[in-house]
């Protein structure tokens, strides 16, 4: 009886894949790179910032007031407020300039500028961080080798972020690296200024995305009305594969938001990257277009290439280099694939066009840009998160690391919780949402709660070896 029972014990879990196997996968695919970015920033901060906080960075964020340790608390507070106000003003002006440029169709200029920004971040900021590391660990390396490696690193990075022909893991890694570098530089700002800036940016994000005159919202609406894409730096999670589901069935079950038509280049046959049930549950419909004919060579006329309209959930995501460059760099393209059925759904709300680019070999599509800032959905239903969000989350956690590791763990959990809440709101409201406010609010709250309340409690208990 026992061996029989044992054999049958195995059955339920291995036979049919249950709900637990696939639910929540896209969330994890966004939470993982955010966690990696935060973790690496914390490591970098704890290695490089041991002791000397005398190194001050002069940038836009300290333009109004330079904090010194001898000032009183009230002065520091006022100074921090002024600094963050100045910063938000600069960001707003830059976003409006971007909207203006986009309105006058200077996309070529924008793209070149974005590429230049990525190169500056990877080459110069990255170079400085590497030099700090070399100094700290006393690695023997000569400057020619270093320069060669750095140049290669930067150029490959720019190419990875702009060209779609690289493996997705390379693009994702470079985006995370850009996030880490910018976040590390931001942690070098004085303490009060950093906290004030985080709160100010969260409020700005809320306003810019949700208010009707907000620049990010204007940008999105311009893009929709014109059917173009905005250049921006966005991290896209790899779309979720659904096995053992017939693509047609899968597609029929999907809830589509809005789409036009997806054209496929001739030899396009991507994998059926379909977001199905999970997306349905969370309301993230995969957005793809299906052509009813099953021939893969159907060529839809209309612009070579593609458009699927995506729900543009714009979030904050403008990432700013410390030298005030707006790194609204061109993002990576969609790794989305087509499917083969056809659906038209009524247009819902705002949408943004996205060029779909297939990963198949002979694609002659022009380079794609996804625009999307903040949290949104790609046409495959994969979640996209703007790089600015990565950066500000990591700045928060890095600043917490400068105090103690207990605050790091608390802030990490708070930020992930905020991200989860934002994703759920995204699924619920299905429109552009800012990703910063909830997470930053929770993060700041938990930081101060931990620092003021929890630390004393835990240290007191631990020192006496009392635990529960």
């Amino acid at each position: 009886m026992d061996s029989n029972a044992m054999a049958q014990l195995q059955r339920p879990s291995t036979e049919t894949p249950t709900l637990l196997d696939s639910l929540g996968e896209e969330i994890i695919r966004i939470v993982a790179p955010v966690s990696i970015c935060m973790f690496l920033v914390v490591i970098l901060v704890s290695i490089l910032n041991t002791g000397d906080s005398s190194f001050s960075v002069s940038s836009i964020a300290t333009i109004a007031y330079t904090e010194t340790t001898s000032d009183s608390s009230w002065d520091k507070f006022l100074g921090a407020l002024l600094n963050s106000l100045a910063f938000v003003v600069v960001v707003t002006v830059a976003t409006f300039v971007l909207v203006l440029l986009f309105y006058f169709r200077c996309t070529g200029f924008l793209k070149i500028y974005m590429g230049f920004s990525a190169f500056v971040v990877l080459g110069f900021l990255g170079g400085e961080v590497f030099i700090f590391l070399i100094q700290h660990f006393s690695t023997p390396i000569d400057c020619f080798t270093f320069l060669l490696l750095l140049c290669n690193f930067a150029v490959v990075g720019v190419m990875a972020v702009f060209m779609s022909k690289m493996a997705i893991i390379v693009t994702q890694s470079y985006l995370v690296v850009i996030g880490i570098l910018v976040a590390y530089w931001f942690t070098m700002l004085p303490e009060w200024t950093t906290w004030a800036m985080l709160v100010a940016m969260a409020l700005y994000d809320l306003a810019a995305v949700l208010l009707p005159i907000g620049p990010l919202r204007l940008l999105v609406e311009l893009a929709i009305s014109r059917d173009e894409e905005i250049p921006a730096l966005v991290y896209e999670a790899r779309p979720v594969n659904v096995e053992n589901l017939d693509p047609r069935v899968a597609v029929a079950q999907r809830r589509l938001w809005r789409e036009r038509r997806v054209t496929e280049n001739s030899n396009l046959r991507g994998d059926a990257n379909v977001n199905v049930s999970n997306n349905n549950a969370l309301g993230l419909g995969a957005n793809a277009e299906l052509n009813p004919g099953s021939d893969s060579n159907s060529n839809n006329p209309s612009s070579a290439g593609e458009d699927a309209i995506l729900d543009s959930n714009l979030g904050s995501s403008t990432s700013y280099g410390i030298y005030s460059d707006r790194n609204l760099v061109r993002a990576e393209e969609g790794r989305v694939q087509e499917t083969n059925s056809e659906i038209t759904t009524p247009l819902i709300g705002h949408g943004v066009n996205v060029r779909i680019h297939s990963r198949a070999e002979n694609v002659d599509a022009s380079d794609e840009n996804l625009m999307l800032e903040g949290i949104g959905l790609a046409s495959s239903g994969a979640i996209k998160l703007g790089l600015g969000d990565f950066i500000f989350y990591s700045v928060l956690v890095g600043r917490a690391a400068m105090y103690d590791f207990m605050t790091v763990y608390a802030c990490y959990l708070a930020i992930i919780a905020g991200l989860g809440i934002t994703l759920m709101l995204l699924a619920f409201y299905q429109k552009a949402l800012p990703a910063l406010p909830v997470s930053v609010a929770l993060g700041v709250l938990f930081y101060f709660l931990t620092r003021l309340l929890l630390e004393v409690f835990v240290v007191q208990c631990s020192m006496n070896l009392l635990m529960f």
Binding site: S13, P17, D21, I27, S277, F405, M406, A414, N464
Partner: protein, 250 residues
């Protein structure tokens, strides 16, 4: 005592939970989310407790009963929270089953429910280890070590790592027992968990006495092993009866 020692202490406290995480939990994304949310819940309960007790800390007494009150109140709070967790989980289970119907997948199996309970317990255990042990471990990465008066033969970090390991085990598996008890209505299981938690917490009071840790820590491990065995026996019995039922029906 250098990075190697620091990592060693961290692995003593978190090693088994890391292996559970990698082998069981990382395969299913929903379980990772469960671990994260239960960790967050435990953290919030800890912050609430520290908020309540902040006015009285730091306790400068040498007698043991303020600490006893501290521990008992905290454990009571956390057990109430466990009940709350169970209620939330019940509602979630219904939602998940309804959703499974919509996408034509089977309802949650018993093993799935136990996995969710395990993930919840692991979240609690990891939160305990992280906040009580790992966050005070930072000095251990430096060149020196630290000893406490009450237990002066063993480095403090090693002691806290060992205690954390015992508590991780207790938290992880008592969640499985508790969820099972609530589901089945089994009174023994339902009361087993809070009693074990209280006993474990009270056992750490022994550490206040000089030289007490030589007695306290092994007793704590006995409690942890007891929890482990009880959980294993309960799971085994449950799965066998479930299987027998399904065999009879098929």
């Amino acid at each position: 005592m250098t990075v190697a020692a620091g990592i060693g202490y961290a692995l003593i406290a978190l090693g088994p939970s890391l292996s559970i995480f990698v082998s069981v939990i990382s395969k299913k994304p929903f379980l990772i989310l469960t671990v994260l949310s239960s960790t967050l819940l435990w953290l919030m309960s800890l912050i609430a407790l520290s908020g309540i007790w902040r006015g009285f800390l730091p306790l400068k007494t040498t007698s043991w009963w303020p600490y006893a009150i501290l521990i008992l109140s905290s454990i009571a709070f956390q057990e109430v929270l466990r009940l709350l967790f169970w209620k939330i989980y019940k509602r979630l289970e219904d939602t998940l089953d309804a959703f499974a119907d919509r996408v034509a997948k089977p309802h949650l199996f018993l093993t799935d429910k136990m996995l969710i309970a395990l993930a919840g317990g692991l979240g609690h255990g990891v939160a305990h280890a992280v906040f009580f042990c790992i966050s005070v471990l930072t000095p251990a990465f430096g060149p020196a070590t630290y000893f406490v008066d009450q237990c002066s033969k063993v480095p403090f970090f090693l002691l806290s790592a060992l205690i954390a390991l015992a508590f991780v085990t207790i938290h992880t598996f008592s969640m499985v027992i508790a969820f099972n008890g609530y589901a089945e209505g089994n009174k023994v299981d339902e009361y087993f968990v809070p009693i074990v938690h209280v006993v474990a917490g009270v056992l750490t009071l022994i550490n206040l006495a000089p030289g007490g840790c030589t007695v306290g820590i092994p007793l704590l491990y006995i409690v942890a092993i007891l929890t482990l065995f009880h959980c294993g026996r309960m799971v085994w019995r449950r799965l066998l009866t479930e299987n027998r039922i399904s065999l009879n029906h098929s």
